[in-house]
Point group: C2
């Protein structure tokens, strides 16, 4: 059995999602689920998360079929985290309708022994104290990516800064970068964020792509232009998970390797939004991915 | 004297602009002014527009110093077109405070003889009937770019379609593309727009860059990441003007040449927004431009 090269911690949830044209109830969601599914095309990722005793075995099978390692997945007495949201007009605006933390409320993420030496670690969006707790269990990881959200920036900025200082790359969306730094222009915001410690800052711009700010350079990448979006939930996690999977598979951590990994993250995310939950990610093959990679490369070269 | 390779028709105005931090009164503006200034780094563009008898000679000198040809500039009895607007919060939202058409109301653009054989033609954003009138005076142009706006899409869609059908490239911003086609996703909107006739559709995404949709391919280009924006007015015109100037200088019209020209347009626009009016464009040199071109190329390559 291959050792775990990439551990991913995050939320696992059961989502109910409404778009302008459709509604899906109780579908598989959560940042760890999206990110692991995306990473699974490149490596055998280990999932660190928690589900309740109500968690459907069919959902677990989806992960197993994707060859995701579930040793780090805890099952706790109670109900699984649930979230429901609605996308309004053109999917541009998402409104949360309800959040039930359930077993997530008392979650303490633990790295199984087999994950502790994983050289790549993705600290998905959970409370920074929990991210720090995971990081402390990791043995000298080669590359740690941390994601966060407005909630933690608002209520736990000091803990967040403490864990960010120990990571190699921080990823945020545009509005979170502005919230965190008070800077509207990304070049300025990224400078302040890099000053917190991470070598790389990766700003997610949704349908407008992403920008990697490193010490001496910047990499600008558009999103892959899809002609159908069914559900954008989890796109950021899919992007980051695909990126970390591809990076782990490369064994590298240099800027050029990150650029290439961003291409993969972008392509996986483009598939992800074409269907609800992991519905499209479980359909596609490596050749579908490589086809879009070739096509994306052509779209950005000059 | 070199013959005119690029004629640019558009508005010439005197603007009053307020940003969250500054207010400038009666500064030089208008789509033809911005586009010609941008194009002037690559070619000797001919400006087609109208000013009133009140138009300051100092503004005319700015254009002359940029080596813009003014044979196509009419002076009409009355006052110059005036526009005033305010940028709210982070420059993201622009509100028009007043528009005085003045001499622009009865403007009939005429191509001087020396512009009639110009192989490149940029029909800036004016009434489609006037754009058509200009196109009819042009002798078999090699490449015509047309820009437009929500107003003409709403009040003169049939005339607009008629002139678009005769152009090689159409440029619009995202919201205009959606308004015109009813499609939110750019890939779908561009398909419908290309069906109107133009070989290329160039969607402007402001700070998020631009996308070129051609028959068989797509080119995705981010904006140049500036760390200072003083006034975004005219950025779209500067982008398009720089693009057309660079394309005219190349003598080509193929997709690869357009891609390269987009880099130039992007860089010129990045300078333009760093100051009000043409204040930054009259300061920079070719070497400043080439430096950012080199830097932008590094930011997009993989």
């Amino acid at each position: 059995m291959k050792s775990i090269q990439l551990a991913i911690v995050g939320s696992v949830g059961i989502d109910t999602i409404e778009t302008p044209t459709e509604k899906r109830e109780s579908i598989l969601g959560g940042s760890a689920s999206y990110a692991c599914a995306a990473a699974s095309f490149f490596t055998h990722p280990g999932m660190v998360g928690v589900v309740g005793t109500d968690f459907p075995s069919a959902f677990r099978s989806i992960w197993e079929n994707l060859n995701i390692d579930l040793q780090g997945l805890q099952t706790a007495e109670g109900e699984t985290f649930r979230w429901s949201g609605i996308y309004e007009k053109n999917m541009d605006n998402r409104r949360t309708l309800s959040t039930e933390l359930n077993v997530f409320e008392t979650f303490s993420p633990e790295l199984p022994e087999s994950y502790q030496n994983a050289p790549y670690l993705f600290l998905g969006n959970i409370h920074p104290a929990l991210q720090l707790h995971v990081l402390e269990q990791s043995n000298n990881p080669k590359f740690v990516l941390i994601d966060t959200m407005d909630l933690w920036i608002n209520i736990a900025p000091e803990e967040l800064k403490q864990v960010i200082a120990q990571c190699h790359m921080l990823t945020l969306n545009e509005s979170e970068a502005e919230l965190f730094t008070g800077e509207h222009l990304l070049a300025k915001a990224a400078k302040k964020l890099r000053a917190l410690g991470p070598k790389h800052v990766l700003i997610k711009k949704g349908g407008n792509g992403s920008i990697l700010f490193s010490e001496d350079d910047i990499f600008l990448l558009h999103a892959y232009p899809v002609d159908h979006v069914q559900d954008p939930t989890g796109a950021g996690d899919t992007f980051a998970g695909g990126l970390m999977g591809a990076l782990a598979a490369s064994g590298k951590t240099d800027t050029n390797a990150i650029r290439k990994a961003m291409l993969y993250g972008t392509v996986i995310a483009s598939f992800g939004v074409e269907a609800f939950s992991l519905d499209q990610l479980i359909q596609i093959s490596s050749s579908d991915i490589n086809q879009r990679i070739t096509s994306l490369r052509k779209m950005i070269q000059i």
